[in-house]
Amino acid sequence: MPNLPKRKVGLIACSGEELAEGTVTRRAVRKVLETLRPDDTVTLCLPLFLAGGAGERTFAQHYPTIAVDGCQKRCAALATEKYSAKPAASIVVSAIAADIGCGYIGTARRLNKDGNRLADAVAERIAAETDRLRKGESRASAEGAGRERGP
Protein backbone atom coordinates (compact mmCIF):
# COMPACT_ATOMS: atom_id res chain seq x y z
CA MET A 1 0.00 0.00 0.00
CA PRO A 2 1.46 3.42 -0.91
CA ASN A 3 2.55 5.71 1.91
CA LEU A 4 0.18 8.62 1.32
CA PRO A 5 0.68 11.98 3.03
CA LYS A 6 -1.42 12.30 6.15
CA ARG A 7 -4.32 14.74 6.01
CA LYS A 8 -4.01 17.22 8.83
CA VAL A 9 -6.52 19.35 10.66
CA GLY A 10 -6.06 23.12 10.30
CA LEU A 11 -6.32 25.22 13.44
CA ILE A 12 -7.37 28.85 13.07
CA ALA A 13 -7.06 31.09 16.11
CA CYS A 14 -8.85 34.45 16.15
CA SER A 15 -5.74 35.74 17.91
CA GLY A 16 -7.78 38.76 19.10
CA GLU A 17 -5.05 41.09 20.33
CA GLU A 18 -7.44 43.32 22.27
CA LEU A 19 -8.73 40.63 24.62
CA ALA A 20 -7.19 38.17 27.06
CA GLU A 21 -9.42 35.53 25.48
CA GLY A 22 -7.60 36.16 22.18
CA THR A 23 -4.33 35.36 23.90
CA VAL A 24 -5.93 32.18 25.21
CA THR A 25 -6.69 31.12 21.62
CA ARG A 26 -3.06 31.56 20.61
CA ARG A 27 -1.66 29.77 23.63
CA ALA A 28 -4.12 26.89 23.26
CA VAL A 29 -3.50 26.40 19.55
CA ARG A 30 0.26 26.47 20.05
CA LYS A 31 -0.02 23.86 22.79
CA VAL A 32 -1.96 21.52 20.50
CA LEU A 33 0.49 22.10 17.69
CA GLU A 34 3.63 21.68 19.78
CA THR A 35 2.61 19.16 22.42
CA LEU A 36 -0.79 17.52 22.21
CA ARG A 37 -1.27 16.71 18.51
CA PRO A 38 1.88 17.78 16.62
CA ASP A 39 1.47 15.11 13.94
CA ASP A 40 -2.18 15.81 13.24
CA THR A 41 -2.44 19.59 13.10
CA VAL A 42 -1.18 22.71 11.35
CA THR A 43 -2.00 26.34 12.06
CA LEU A 44 -3.54 28.67 9.52
CA CYS A 45 -3.10 32.42 9.67
CA LEU A 46 -6.49 34.13 9.77
CA PRO A 47 -5.46 37.52 8.30
CA LEU A 48 -3.96 35.71 5.33
CA PHE A 49 -7.47 34.94 4.19
CA LEU A 50 -7.92 38.66 3.65
CA ALA A 51 -4.43 39.25 2.36
CA GLY A 52 -5.09 36.64 -0.31
CA GLY A 53 -3.04 33.77 1.06
CA ALA A 54 -3.84 31.13 -1.58
CA GLY A 55 -2.33 28.34 0.50
CA GLU A 56 -4.52 29.19 3.47
CA ARG A 57 -7.70 29.45 1.43
CA THR A 58 -7.05 26.26 -0.51
CA PHE A 59 -6.17 24.28 2.61
CA ALA A 60 -9.40 25.25 4.34
CA GLN A 61 -11.42 24.33 1.25
CA HIS A 62 -10.08 20.78 1.16
CA TYR A 63 -9.09 19.93 4.72
CA PRO A 64 -11.07 20.02 7.96
CA THR A 65 -10.48 23.10 10.09
CA ILE A 66 -11.19 24.06 13.69
CA ALA A 67 -11.89 27.74 14.37
CA VAL A 68 -10.88 28.88 17.86
CA ASP A 69 -12.47 32.18 18.84
CA GLY A 70 -12.05 34.32 21.92
CA CYS A 71 -15.53 35.80 21.99
CA GLN A 72 -18.99 35.44 20.52
CA LYS A 73 -18.09 37.66 17.57
CA ARG A 74 -16.47 34.47 16.23
CA CYS A 75 -14.14 36.24 13.80
CA ALA A 76 -12.14 33.10 13.01
CA ALA A 77 -15.18 30.96 12.22
CA LEU A 78 -16.96 33.63 10.20
CA ALA A 79 -13.91 34.82 8.28
CA THR A 80 -12.89 31.26 7.44
CA GLU A 81 -16.33 30.55 6.09
CA LYS A 82 -16.42 33.86 4.21
CA TYR A 83 -13.09 33.45 2.48
CA SER A 84 -12.77 29.69 2.22
CA ALA A 85 -15.10 27.05 3.66
CA LYS A 86 -17.14 26.46 6.80
CA PRO A 87 -14.95 25.14 9.65
CA ALA A 88 -15.59 21.52 10.65
CA ALA A 89 -15.67 22.61 14.30
CA SER A 90 -15.94 25.88 16.16
CA ILE A 91 -14.72 26.54 19.71
CA VAL A 92 -15.40 29.73 21.67
CA VAL A 93 -13.13 30.47 24.64
CA SER A 94 -15.65 32.53 26.58
CA ALA A 95 -18.07 29.57 26.55
CA ILE A 96 -15.42 27.20 27.90
CA ALA A 97 -14.49 29.77 30.56
CA ALA A 98 -18.07 29.68 31.75
CA ASP A 99 -18.04 25.85 31.72
CA ILE A 100 -14.97 25.53 33.92
CA GLY A 101 -15.74 28.49 36.15
CA CYS A 102 -12.91 30.86 35.30
CA GLY A 103 -12.79 34.30 36.85
CA TYR A 104 -10.41 37.06 35.84
CA ILE A 105 -7.87 35.56 33.41
CA GLY A 106 -5.35 38.39 33.18
CA THR A 107 -4.70 40.76 30.30
CA ALA A 108 -4.21 40.34 26.57
CA ARG A 109 -0.50 40.78 27.18
CA ARG A 110 -0.10 38.52 30.20
CA LEU A 111 -2.45 35.74 31.24
CA ASN A 112 -2.62 34.91 34.93
CA LYS A 113 -2.87 31.43 36.46
CA ASP A 114 -6.57 31.15 35.64
CA GLY A 115 -5.86 32.30 32.09
CA ASN A 116 -3.27 29.58 31.61
CA ARG A 117 -5.66 27.02 33.11
CA LEU A 118 -8.29 28.15 30.63
CA ALA A 119 -5.79 27.86 27.75
CA ASP A 120 -5.05 24.29 28.83
CA ALA A 121 -8.77 23.47 28.89
CA VAL A 122 -9.26 24.99 25.43
CA ALA A 123 -6.25 23.03 24.14
CA GLU A 124 -7.77 19.79 25.44
CA ARG A 125 -11.03 20.63 23.68
CA ILE A 126 -9.19 21.32 20.42
CA ALA A 127 -7.31 18.02 20.73
CA ALA A 128 -10.59 16.17 21.31
CA GLU A 129 -12.15 17.81 18.25
CA THR A 130 -9.04 16.94 16.24
CA ASP A 131 -9.38 13.29 17.25
CA ARG A 132 -13.06 13.31 16.37
CA LEU A 133 -12.39 14.74 12.94
CA ARG A 134 -9.49 12.39 12.28
CA LYS A 135 -11.59 9.41 13.37
CA GLY A 136 -14.47 10.44 11.15
CA GLU A 137 -12.08 10.81 8.28
CA SER A 138 -10.59 7.35 8.85
CA ARG A 139 -14.06 5.83 8.93
CA ALA A 140 -15.09 7.61 5.74
CA SER A 141 -11.85 6.51 4.12
CA ALA A 142 -12.40 2.90 5.15
CA GLU A 143 -15.99 2.98 3.91
CA GLY A 144 -14.79 4.49 0.64
CA ALA A 145 -12.20 1.74 0.28
CA GLY A 146 -14.91 -0.84 0.94
CA ARG A 147 -17.05 0.62 -1.79
CA GLU A 148 -14.18 0.52 -4.21
CA ARG A 149 -13.75 -3.17 -3.59
CA GLY A 150 -17.46 -3.82 -4.11
CA PRO A 151 -19.33 -4.40 -7.37
Partner: protein
Protein backbone atom coordinates in the same frame (compact mmCIF):
# COMPACT_ATOMS: atom_id res chain seq x y z
CA UNK B 1 -13.04 65.17 26.34
CA UNK B 2 -12.09 61.56 25.68
CA UNK B 3 -8.90 61.29 23.68
CA UNK B 4 -9.12 59.02 20.65
CA UNK B 5 -6.30 56.52 20.69
CA UNK B 6 -4.08 56.06 17.66
CA UNK B 7 -4.92 52.54 16.42
CA UNK B 8 -2.05 50.05 16.53
CA UNK B 9 -2.67 46.86 14.58
CA UNK B 10 -0.17 44.02 14.96
CA UNK B 11 0.30 40.89 12.88
CA UNK B 12 -1.82 37.98 14.12
CA UNK B 13 0.61 35.28 13.04
CA UNK B 14 1.24 32.43 15.46
CA UNK B 15 3.53 30.34 13.30
CA UNK B 16 6.79 32.23 13.74
CA UNK B 17 8.59 34.34 16.33
CA UNK B 18 8.39 37.50 14.25
CA UNK B 19 4.60 37.52 14.57
CA UNK B 20 4.96 37.31 18.33
CA UNK B 21 7.50 40.16 18.22
CA UNK B 22 5.01 42.28 16.25
CA UNK B 23 2.30 41.62 18.80
CA UNK B 24 4.55 42.36 21.78
CA UNK B 25 5.71 45.55 20.05
CA UNK B 26 2.10 46.70 19.85
CA UNK B 27 1.64 46.14 23.58
CA UNK B 28 4.93 47.90 24.38
CA UNK B 29 3.83 50.89 22.30
CA UNK B 30 0.30 51.12 23.68
CA UNK B 31 0.89 50.14 27.31
CA UNK B 32 4.50 51.11 28.13
CA UNK B 33 5.64 53.89 25.80
CA UNK B 34 2.46 55.77 24.85
CA UNK B 35 -0.36 54.78 27.21
CA UNK B 36 -3.37 56.99 26.65
CA UNK B 37 -2.20 57.89 23.16
CA UNK B 38 -2.13 54.53 21.34
CA UNK B 39 -4.44 51.53 21.57
CA UNK B 40 -4.18 47.99 20.22
CA UNK B 41 -6.81 46.97 17.67
CA UNK B 42 -7.38 43.30 16.79
CA UNK B 43 -6.57 42.47 13.20
CA UNK B 44 -9.21 39.73 13.11
CA UNK B 45 -11.93 42.33 13.67
CA UNK B 46 -10.68 44.30 10.67
CA UNK B 47 -10.49 41.11 8.60
CA UNK B 48 -14.08 40.32 9.46
CA UNK B 49 -15.20 43.88 8.79
CA UNK B 50 -16.51 44.63 12.28
CA UNK B 51 -18.32 47.94 11.92
CA UNK B 52 -17.17 49.48 15.23
CA UNK B 53 -13.55 48.60 14.53
CA UNK B 54 -13.70 49.92 10.99
CA UNK B 55 -15.24 53.13 12.23
CA UNK B 56 -12.38 53.48 14.74
CA UNK B 57 -9.72 53.35 12.01
CA UNK B 58 -11.48 54.87 9.00
CA UNK B 59 -9.70 58.01 7.84
CA UNK B 60 -7.36 57.99 10.83
CA UNK B 61 -3.62 57.75 11.14
CA UNK B 62 -2.72 54.25 12.35
CA UNK B 63 0.26 51.99 12.98
CA UNK B 64 0.67 48.57 11.36
CA UNK B 65 3.27 46.25 12.85
CA UNK B 66 3.88 43.28 10.58
CA UNK B 67 5.91 40.16 11.12
CA UNK B 68 6.46 39.11 7.51
CA UNK B 69 6.47 40.51 3.99
CA UNK B 70 2.82 39.64 3.42
CA UNK B 71 2.03 42.70 5.58
CA UNK B 72 -1.43 41.54 6.67
CA UNK B 73 -1.78 44.31 9.24
CA UNK B 74 -0.97 47.07 6.76
CA UNK B 75 -3.29 45.50 4.19
CA UNK B 76 -6.03 45.15 6.79
CA UNK B 77 -5.75 48.83 7.64
CA UNK B 78 -5.71 49.78 3.96
CA UNK B 79 -8.84 47.74 3.28
CA UNK B 80 -10.54 49.37 6.26
CA UNK B 81 -10.03 52.90 4.98
CA UNK B 82 -7.32 54.04 7.38
CA UNK B 83 -5.62 57.33 6.59
CA UNK B 84 -1.84 57.61 6.93
CA UNK B 85 -0.32 54.30 7.97
CA UNK B 86 3.02 53.97 9.71
CA UNK B 87 4.35 50.58 8.63
CA UNK B 88 6.73 48.91 11.02
CA UNK B 89 8.17 45.75 9.47
CA UNK B 90 9.69 43.48 12.07
CA UNK B 91 11.70 41.64 9.42
CA UNK B 92 13.42 44.98 8.66
CA UNK B 93 13.88 45.78 12.34
CA UNK B 94 15.72 42.46 12.66
CA UNK B 95 18.17 43.62 9.99
CA UNK B 96 18.88 46.77 11.96
CA UNK B 97 19.54 44.74 15.12
CA UNK B 98 21.49 41.79 13.82
CA UNK B 99 22.67 40.68 17.22
CA UNK B 100 19.16 39.88 18.38
CA UNK B 101 17.85 36.37 17.74
CA UNK B 102 14.16 36.16 18.62
CA UNK B 103 12.82 32.73 19.58
CA UNK B 104 9.50 31.43 20.82
CA UNK B 105 5.93 32.16 19.86
CA UNK B 106 3.88 31.65 22.99
CA UNK B 107 6.63 33.13 25.13
CA UNK B 108 9.34 35.25 23.51
CA UNK B 109 12.94 35.03 24.66
CA UNK B 110 14.82 38.11 25.89
CA UNK B 111 16.09 38.96 22.41
CA UNK B 112 12.53 38.83 21.12
CA UNK B 113 11.41 41.23 23.83
CA UNK B 114 14.28 43.62 23.03
CA UNK B 115 13.38 43.47 19.36
CA UNK B 116 9.76 44.23 20.20
CA UNK B 117 10.81 47.35 22.07
CA UNK B 118 13.00 48.44 19.18
CA UNK B 119 10.09 47.94 16.77
CA UNK B 120 7.75 49.91 19.02
CA UNK B 121 10.21 52.78 19.26
CA UNK B 122 10.18 53.13 15.47
CA UNK B 123 6.54 54.24 15.65
CA UNK B 124 6.89 56.71 18.52
CA UNK B 125 7.30 59.86 16.45
CA UNK B 126 4.36 58.91 14.25
CA UNK B 127 2.11 58.24 17.25
CA UNK B 128 3.04 61.57 18.84
CA UNK B 129 2.27 63.43 15.64
CA UNK B 130 -0.98 61.56 15.03
CA UNK B 131 -2.12 62.07 18.62
CA UNK B 132 -1.33 65.77 18.29
CA UNK B 133 -3.42 66.01 15.15
CA UNK B 134 -6.34 64.39 16.95
CA UNK B 135 -5.99 66.88 19.79
CA UNK B 136 -6.05 69.77 17.31
CA UNK B 137 -9.07 68.41 15.44
Amino acid sequence: MTRRLVPVVPCSGIGKSLGAVAREAAYVLAEDLRPGKAGVVALSLLVLGDSDTRAAVAGRAAVAIDGCKLECAAKGLGASGAGRVCKVAVFDVVRRHRGLKPEGVTDLNDDGLKLARAAAEEALKFVDEAAGEDDDA
